[in-house]
C-alpha cells in the first residue's frame, strides 16, 4: 500500500485534534505517514501520539533552520519528501499557513490542489462546502499527487495501532526560500477556553452585546464552549480579531453554535453555516439568523443568557 503523507499540526509538540482526524482519513487512502516539522527532541512524544491513530512512519523535519521563515521552506521540504516517498496523497490540516504551503507545493510537484475539504473518501474524492455553505461539491485531483487540505471536524478520530517508526528527514532549504522573515512573534494569551476551530460548542456574540461580553462568556463557560464574535464586535474592539467567526475570520463547524445578538449576514454565515445544530438569541424576530436555526429565542440576550446560565448550573448541581 502506498504512503499517505499527513502534515502534523501541533503547538510545540502537542499534537492537535485535526491531525488525528487527518490520520483517520488517511487510512482510507493508504498507509499514513505523519510529517512533523519541529524540534527533534519532541519527536518521540509526537510519535507516541500519532502512532495510536495509525501512523506507520513519522518523518521528523528539524525546523530549527526554517521556523523563522514564511511557508516557502516547508514547501521545499515537502517537495523533497514527496520525491522520496512517492505518496498516494498529501493531506494537511486547513489553516492559512498550510494552504499556502500546499499552494507552493502543488506548483513545485505539478499536482492539483483542493482546499478546505470537509470530507475525503477513497479515490480520493473530496467534499467541499462552498458559497457560504449553500452548495456541497465533490471534486477530484486529476493530475499528480493529490494535495488536499482538510477542515477540522471532517472525521471523528479513530484509534488504530501503527508502527510509528521515527525517521529523520533532512531537507535542503534554498536561500531563495528564506526571503520572508519572521522578525517578531508575540504569543496570544490563552483564555483557558477550548480552541475556537476545534471546539464542540461555540457561543458567539455580536453587536447586540453592546460591548458587554460577560453574558456570552458566562453562558459559554456553563457549556464548556469556545467564545466567538462577529466582525461588528471585533471592529468595535470588544473582542480580538482571533475570535472572529466568518469569511475573514475562523470557520467553525461545531456540534452546536449559539449566535447571540448577531444578525446573520452572509459573511458571518460563511463561517458557521455547517455547524450541526444552530441556536440564536436575538431581540429582532426578523433577523436573518433565524432562517438558519434549529432553535431560536426572540429576546434580549442580557436577560436570556444569564438566566439560562443559572439554570444550567442548577441542573449540573
Amino acid at each position: 500500500m502506498s504512503e499517505v503523507l499527513v502534515v502534523i499540526d501541533h503547538a510545540d509538540g502537542a499534537v492537535k485534534k485535526p491531525t488525528l482526524e487527518l490520520l483517520t482519513i488517511a487510512r482510507r487512502l493508504g498507509e499514513p505517514s505523519a510529517v512533523f516539522f519541529g524540534s527533534p527532541d519532541k519527536a518521540d512524544a509526537v510519535a507516541e501520539k500519532v502512532k495510536a491513530y495509525g501512523a506507520e512512519k513519522v518523518y521528523v523535519v528539524d525546523d530549527a533552520e526554517i521556523k523563522g521563515y514564511l511557508v516557502a521552506p516547508k514547501a521545499e521540504a515537502l517537495q523533497q519528501l514527496a520525491e522520496q516517498a512517492q505518496p498516494a496523497a498529501i493531506l494537511l490540516p486547513s489553516s492559512f499557513e498550510n494552504k499556502e504551503v500546499a499552494a507552493r507545493l502543488a506548483i513545485k510537484i505539478g499536482s492539483g490542489l483542493i482546499t478546505d475539504a470537509v470530507d475525503v473518501q477513497e479515490g480520493p474524492v473530496t467534499t467541499q462546502s462552498v458559497f457560504a455553505g449553500n452548495y456541497t461539491v465533490q471534486a477530484k485531483v486529476t493530475q499528480g499527487t493529490p494535495i488536499i487540505t482538510v477542515k477540522p471536524n471532517a472525521a471523528a478520530p479513530e484509534e488504530a495501532a501503527g508502527a510509528g517508526a521515527v525517521e529523520a528527514f533532512s531537507a535542503t532549504v534554498s536561500d531563495a526560500a528564506k526571503t520572508a522573515q519572521v522578525v517578531a512573534t508575540q504569543p496570544r494569551e490563552s483564555t483557558g477556553r477550548p480552541e475556537l476551530t476545534e471546539a464542540a460548542i461555540v457561543v458567539s456574540g455580536g453587536r447586540g452585546t453592546g460591548g458587554d461580553f460577560a453574558p456570552v462568556e458566562g453562558f459559554a463557560d456553563s457549556l464548556g464552549a469556545a467564545v466567538g464574535a462577529s466582525r461588528a464586535a471585533v471592529d468595535s474592539g470588544w473582542m480580538p480579531h482571533a475570535f472572529q467567526v466568518g469569511q475573514t475570520g475562523k470557520t467553525v463547524s461545531p456540534q452546536l453554535y449559539v449566535a447571540n445578538g448577531i444578525s446573520g449576514a452572509i459573511q458571518h454565515r460563511a463561517g458557521m453555516q455547517t455547524s450541526k445544530v444552530i441556536v440564536a438569541v436575538n431581540k429582532d424576530e426578523e433577523a436573518p439568523i433565524f432562517e438558519l436555526v434549529d432553535f431560536g429565542v426572540v429576546g434580549d440576550l442580557h436577560s436570556v443568557l444569564p438566566a439560562a446560565t443559572e439554570q444550567i448550573a442548577a441542573r449540573k448541581g
Partner: protein, 257 residues
C-alpha cells in the same frame, strides 16, 4: 483582483459544474478593495517617486467592471486578461495566467492581492504567484509599513501575532483589517474614463491555450448539490424568563447539557 458573483445574490453552478458567472451579478471581490487601497497608499506615501498602480484582473468580458472600479478608486492603469480558453481554470492555471500578465506589464516591485476571493476563497493565489515569480511572499497582512525597499507587516497567526519583514520586490496579501478601502469620488469616476485599459488574450501573454481551462484543470468538480433548505426550527419569544427555560430544555434534549 478578482471579479466574483455577488455573495448576496443567488449564486449557482452551470451544467458543467463551473460557476455561473454570467447569470448572476458580479463585482470586484470585496476583499480585493483592500488590496487596491494598500497599493494606492503605497503610492501616496512615496510622493515624488514614479510609482504606477496597475489593476489586473483575469476573468470573463464582464470582469472589466472590476478593473474599472479600481481605476475609479485611483489606480493608474488597468489590465484585463480575457480569453474563452481560460473559463473553468483551477487555481494553478489562474496563477499561471496572472504571473505571465505581471511579467508582461511589469516588472512589478510590489504585487498586492486580497486575502481570499469571496467565491473560491482558497487563499492560495498569492502564494502561487510568489512561487511562480520567484518573489518573497508576505501574506495576510493586517498592518503594512514600508521604508525604502523594506516592507514590514503585522499579521495574526493561529496562536500569535507576528511581524514579517522582506525586501522589494515581493508579493503581498492583505486582510480586511488592513484599513478601510476608499470609495471612488465623482472626480475619480470621471478621471477613470480617460485612463489606459488594456485587454490581453492568452496569445498576447504567450500562454498556450492547452495549459488552461476546464478540460485540463488539475482538479475537477464532479458534482454539485444545493443545500436542502433548512427545515424551519422552533422559535420562541421570551416572556418573563420563559426563553431561557425553553433554551435550556432544548439544549438538554439534544444532550448538550
Amino acid at each position: 483582483m478578482k471579479y466574483v458573483p455577488d455573495a448576496t445574490a443567488d449564486r449557482k453552478f452551470e451544467d458543467d459544474n463551473t460557476v455561473d458567472r454570467v447569470g448572476v451579478d458580479g463585482l470586484l471581490s470585496e476583499l480585493d478593495e483592500y488590496a487596491v487601497e494598500q497599493a494606492l497608499q503605497f503610492r501616496e506615501k512615496r510622493e515624488g517617486e514614479e510609482i504606477e498602480v496597475t489593476a489586473l484582473c483575469v476573468g470573463p468580458e464582464k470582469a472589466v467592471d472590476a478593473v474599472r472600479k479600481a481605476l475609479q478608486m485611483g489606480a493608474d492603469k488597468g489590465v484585463h486578461v480575457v480569453d474563452d480558453a481560460i473559463a473553468g481554470s483551477d487555481s494553478i492555471a489562474t496563477s499561471l495566467v496572472l504571473a505571465k500578465a505581471i511579467e508582461k506589464v511589469g516588472p512589478a516591485d510590489l504585487v498586492v492581492c486580497g486575502m481570499a476571493s469571496t467565491d473560491g476563497g482558497m487563499s492560495v493565489v498569492p502564494a502561487m504567484l510568489a512561487e511562480r515569480l520567484g518573489l518573497p511572499q508576505v501574506t495576510l497582512a493586517s498592518v503594512v509599513e514600508s521604508q525604502g525597499d523594506q516592507v514590514r507587516v503585522k499579521r495574526d497567526n493561529e496562536g500569535s501575532t507576528e511581524v514579517i519583514g522582506a525586501t522589494l520586490p515581493l508579493v503581498l496579501s492583505v486582510t480586511d483589517q488592513s484599513g478601510e478601502a476608499r470609495y471612488p469620488s465623482f472626480k475619480g469616476i470621471m478621471a477613470a474614463k480617460k485612463k489606459p485599459l488594456e485587454t490581453y488574450s492568452l496569445s498576447d501573454l504567450g500562454v498556450d491555450a492547452g495549459e488552461v481551462g476546464l478540460s485540463v484543470a488539475w482538479s475537477q468538480v464532479e458534482d454539485t448539490t444545493a443545500r436542502p433548505p433548512r427545515t424551519a426550527g422552533e422559535i420562541v419569544t421570551d416572556e418573563d424568563g420563559s426563553g431561557a427555560t425553553a433554551l435550556v430544555e432544548f439544549l438538554a434534549s439534544k444532550k448538550f447539557i
